[in-house]
């Protein structure tokens, strides 16, 4: 088992390296250097700037320098926010993004699994049908349509929550967390429902019932354990959806996380910032996929470690 985890981690290294290499060289090919924008600079100033940012070195040396920096969590200087390094910007924004993302994942898992179980137990009941509709909407309608719609409904009309902004109050966090969680609530509830229905039909559940074990215990202990495997396998993709979605949700609700830096960086051509966020978020998704695989390996005897 342990060796499986180690091998899985080693297997992810090429992906991480490809991510770093791709983003580095794509950014170097991209037109419009950081200093080509606003005003004309004299030759001497440009040369000095290039020297200060090591842009006069051969590209392989720049790449080596970047890798060495990454190893020390140094993403280089931001080209737009001249007084900040990318690392400082990430340290500022990341905790906020993690807070929203973490709660969204938690809400999605709990709500999704609950809706799925209730749906499977009371098939075609009121809760099942409404969960089905929510899931359909959550899967088909993207967050950038749902987010503003909920802003209109709960912010403008009902005035339950602030429309946007981030003042640290719980009220301001509820809408963004829910919007970010919605696609995953949809997927997780459908997955749980499907695998729960299947699990309830299995022989081991029938045996458990025949032995006289109480209905609740059979559901929670026997059926659910088996039914959770596809849901756990989904946690990797769920992380990817949350990470991507957080970029939009931070934009819609004006949350000062790193997703907003990413969008700003991309429109300002602040390449080090874009690269930093891409590598960080890419790394998180790669890590989530590893954790998912290892946890699956631990729980599912059918997953072989080979």
């Amino acid at each position: 088992m342990f060796s499986f985890a180690i091998r899985r981690i080693i297997g992810a290294i090429p992906t991480l390296f490809a991510l770093i290499t791709l983003s580095f060289f794509i950014m170097r090919v991209a037109p419009g250097g950081p200093f080509s924008g606003n005003r004309k600079l004299t030759e001497a100033v440009l040369a000095n700037l290039n020297r200060a940012y090591h842009l006069d070195e051969p590209i392989w040396m720049q790449f080596g320098r970047y890798l060495w920096g990454l190893a020390r969590f140094d993403f280089g200087p931001s080209m737009k926010y001249r007084d900040y390094s990318v690392t400082e910007l990430i340290v500022q924004g990341f905790p906020v993004s993690v807070e929203v993302g973490f709660w969204a994942m938690l809400v999605a898992t709990i709500l999704g699994i609950t809706l799925g179980i209730v749906g499977a137990l009371r098939r075609n009941g009121v809760i099942d049908l409404s969960a089905g509709i929510i899931a359909m909407v959550g899967i088909a309608v993207p967050t950038f349509v749902i987010g503003p719609l909920l802003q209109i409904l709960f912010g403008l009309e009902l005035k339950w929550f602030p429309i946007a902004g981030w003042d640290g109050s719980i009220n301001a966090k509820i809408l963004p967390i829910f919007v970010l969680a919605l696609p995953n609530i949809a997927y997780i509830s459908r997955l749980t429902r499907g695998s729960m229905i299947e699990a309830l039909r299995t022989n081991y559940v029938r045996t458990a019932r025949a032995k006289g074990i109480g209905a609740m215990r059979v559901i929670w202990k026997h059926a659910l354990t088996g039914a959770m495997l596809p849901v756990i396998a989904y946690l990797g993709p769920a992380t990817a959806i949350t990470v991507t979605g957080s970029v939009v949700v931070e934009q819609i609700f004006g949350i000062p996380g790193i997703g907003r830096y990413f969008v700003e960086g991309a429109s300002n051509r602040d390449y080090p910032l874009v690269m930093g966020v891409t590598i960080l978020y890419g790394g998180i998704v790669i890590l989530a996929n590893i954790v998912t695989d290892v946890v699956r390996g631990l729980l599912d005897p059918k997953v072989s470690y080979e």
Binding site: A18, I26, V141, P142, A266, V277, T278, G282, V285
Partner: protein, 299 residues
């Protein structure tokens, strides 16, 4: 006993066995799915409206009507869904933006499928070392959240409609490649491939004329989902201001404009939002229907 025999015999004679090709059989199954067929009709109507509708207007999507600024919804008037704060007709702008969204979606999915199928079919058919290298590359790219990759590539190729199209296609061909490879591996040793080789076809001819067409039916089922994915990605980027740039617009950028103005005029959000949502719902139902009808494992 004799009753039973008598009961079963006549239908056998009355209905001669009609051979159905697998494709026709699948198509028949699909056409019985009311939700999927209905979605196809609605999607076609949206397409006709977006591409044909603008011809019915005596003005263009960028033309401002200064006499009717922020005109309200009035169904039987020059501006049936009103105008925005610059006096531009809302419905016309949404239809015009739909041309970009639908165009990028369908053409983009088509291009991604072509690239993916040729890549995957080559890997699966040739096998061995090449297969290993090609598919490892796909694995590695798969590990990266594709949205970030699209944005990176978009920075290089430029923020034009064509650039947006290229950056989406460059990233989204991965899944068709995996599917086509699986098909190609199973086709590689079939008799008709051996026959083609014995007949003197080159490897490329075999890939293009035998392997690719035979992997297509499985890929087509998937490609309806790909259209969905391309449309979402395009509007996602345009919503963030990283995709279609003004004055051009797509549903994504119109939704962005609408989302910024919800306090003044929710219609700016609702109209493009409902067009996009309706399109995505239809594509979802079509994809489900196609999968149920065409995927042999689902039967």
């Amino acid at each position: 006993m004799s009753d039973l025999a008598a009961g079963t015999a006549p239908p056998l004679e009355a209905a001669p066995v009609v051979g159905l090709s697998p494709f026709k059989a699948s198509w028949r199954r699909f056409s019985r799915n009311k939700l999927a067929v209905g979605s196809m009709v609605i999607l076609a109507l949206i397409g006709i409206a977006c591409y044909g509708g603008p011809w019915l207007f005596p003005f263009g999507p960028e033309d401002a009507d200064f006499d009717n600024i922020s005109a309200p919804v009035k169904l039987f008037s020059l501006h049936p869904f009103g105008t925005d704060e610059f006096g531009r007709d809302l419905l016309l702008r949404v239809l015009d933006g739909g041309q970009v969204s639908l165009g990028v979606g369908f053409v983009g999915a088509f291009a991604a499928v072509i690239i993916g199928v040729i890549y995957g079919a080559t890997a699966g058919y040739v096998g061995g070392r090449l297969d290993n290298v090609l598919m490892r590359t796909v694995d590695v790219l798969y590990g990266i959240p594709y949205f970030f990759l699209v944005v990176l590539i978009n920075l290089v190729v430029g923020r034009t409609t064509a650039g947006l199209f290229v950056s989406i296609v460059v990233v989204l061909w991965l899944t068709p490649a995996v599917i086509a490879r699986g098909q190609a591996v199973s086709l590689r040793h079939r008799e008709f491939v051996d026959a083609a080789r014995a007949g003197g076809m080159t490897e490329w001819q075999i890939i293009l004329q035998h392997i690719v067409p035979n992997s297509l039916n499985v890929v087509i089922v998937y490609s309806s989902l790909l259209v969905l994915e391309v449309i979402i990605t395009e509007s996602f980027l345009s919503f963030l201001g990283l995709g279609i740039q003004p004055p051009a617009s797509s549903w994504g950028s119109l939704i962005d404009t609408g989302a910024r103005a919800i306090e003044n005029d929710p219609r700016l959000l609702l109209l493009p939002g409902s067009f996009l949502a309706a399109t995505l719902f239809c594509l979802n139902f079509i994809a489900d229907g196609l999968r149920d009808a065409f995927d042999p494992n689902e039967r």
